[in-house]
Amino acid sequence: MAGGGSGHIRLYRAVAGRSFRRHSTYRAATLAGAFTNTVFGFIQVYVLLAVFRVRTDVGGLDAVDVVTFSFVTQGLLAVMSVFGSLELADRITSGDVVSDLYRPFDLQSWWLAQDVGRAAFQLLFRGVPPFVVGALAFDLRLPADAGVWAGFAFTLVLAVGVGFAWRFVISLSAFWLLDVRGLVQLSGLVFVFFSGFLLPLQFFPGPLRAVADALPFASVVQLPVEVFLSRHRSLPNLLEVLARQTAWLVVLLGLGRMCMARAWHRVVVQGG
């Protein structure tokens, strides 16, 4: 299998760039999606604020925190592509993946580059608008200083990586299932619930919170949003968050490579 080298870096950078440009052609879809995320942000905010009519604090979060939480998570929904699968799954089902296999690049890195390009586009055009509109209507909490912004940027990059690594494994299951839509949907639900998209994990009762903390999904949403809310300001705290994300990234990327190695044995090229 092909290794690293500067030529490969250039290749993957080009792949990411093209992916960014490809997504930028769907203007109406982007606008419609940003609108939908914004409206859902408002609905979620009102539901959570109803809780704060009788409470001032839930697990250390105040009303401003949860309002910010809602708009940041709605912004991240498309970035982390929670309900999406990789096109890789379609290529496996249709058999096109065979032509990917004899190209001189690493399949996982190729799709990672694709996904990074996509995520960068979604961050700018699906992530920022709900937050800006939310900020016009409500008091939102911005990161306390430049250090928090930088920390947020790092956690975001790792979060995109973990989200990708998970979806890569799910997509590879197409080698065994052929039709992955059911699994993709189920994975999306587990993801959406345990990542903190539906509710900040601070609202969860103890045992459920423990389950969420033991799964990789919090690394994709809950942790970056907590960093954004300046809840991990000290360097040791921030490093702990980054270490947790990195651990999941390594584990899930490794799992992906394992599945890849197994899947290759199943590939049969039809002559017809």
């Binding site: 939908t36 409206v39 409470r55 059911g182 699994l183 609202f203």
Partner: protein, 272 residues
């Protein structure tokens, strides 16, 4: 043009299409089962969110968990029935983009019937089952002195809600006739509407309350539930709103008819 089929003939055609579709889906058994499970889980997560919210507060805007579960149960059952029988219309944008919508116009059956029959997905029934379960529990828990009138109202809520959600699905999906990419816009009104209908309307701010009175989600569960539960709207909506559901449903169907048929007239096949 040939004579249009009678209602009985249409019903037969629909049954045939649905039967064929179920047999086709059953070919991918693992995915079929996973899909049905995921539909059940999806709906289940919504009620889990409500339970988690109530683990943090005793009452949400003065409503007990049983009362909110009653709102949730009636609205979700109506929505789930709409999801089973009407939501197939969402795939309109897919068929328009693929150019395959032409086929629907060439058959001697209404394109809407054909679309809803051909894209029928049994898996969505998972949601109906879940909604019946929650509604059943809620009915025994709400402090209501049941009599025939109230019982009839509950049945009417589900029927009226089904028609309203169905109509909104058709109207929102018809956007694809004009802007094929803006598919996600429909989600704002369908899934967003469903989400809003789970909660007492008074937790939302003025503009959102007015929006769901016009888009008439408020007539699915909130207004009739006020009467069943013997509550008053703190924002002073007139009492007859509780009984306006059937009229509102008829209005939605009329609007849906106009939008759908003007969409069909506006339709131009893809150029490619």
């Amino acid at each position: 043009m040939a004579e249009l089929p009678t209602l009985a003939e249409q019903a037969t055609i629909w049954r045939r299409l649905v039967g064929a579709r179920i047999r086709a889906d059953w070919q991918y058994r693992t995915s079929f089962v996973l899909f049905t499970v995921s539909q059940f889980t999806a709906a289940f997560l919504d009620i889990v969110v409500i339970v988690i919210l109530f683990s943090n507060v005793d009452r949400l805007a003065g409503w007990s968990i049983a009362e909110v579960a009653f709102l949730y149960g009636t609205a979700t059952l109506a929505f789930a029935l709409g999801d089973v029988f009407i939501s197939e219309v969402e795939l309109l944008s897919h068929h328009i983009r693929q150019g395959s919508f032409d086929r629907f116009l060439l058959r001697p059956v209404g394109p809407l019937l054909l679309l809803c029959g051909q894209e029928f997905a049994f898996r969505r029934a998972g949601k109906v089952f879940q909604a019946v379960l929650v509604l059943g529990v809620a009915l025994t828990q709400v402090p209501v002195d049941w009599h025939a009138g109230r019982a009839a109202m509950v049945v009417a809520m589900v029927g009226v809600g089904f028609v309203i959600f169905g109509g909104i699905w058709v109207i929102a999906s018809s956007v694809a006739f004009w802007a094929v990419e803006a598919r996600e816009l429909a989600n704002t009104f369908t899934y967003g509407g469903n989400f809003v209908s789970h909660y007492p309307l008074e937790i939302f701010s003025g503009w959102l309350r007015r929006l769901v009175t016009v888009v008439p989600i408020a007539f699915v569960s909130y207004h009739p539930a006020l009467w069943v539960l013997g509550r008053k709207d703190p924002n002073g909506a007139p009492g007859w709103f509780s009984f306006a559901g059937p009229l509102v449903a008829i209005a939605v169907v009329l609007v849906a008819r106009v939008v759908w048929s003007s969409g069909i007239r506006h339709y131009r096949s893809t150029g490619s």
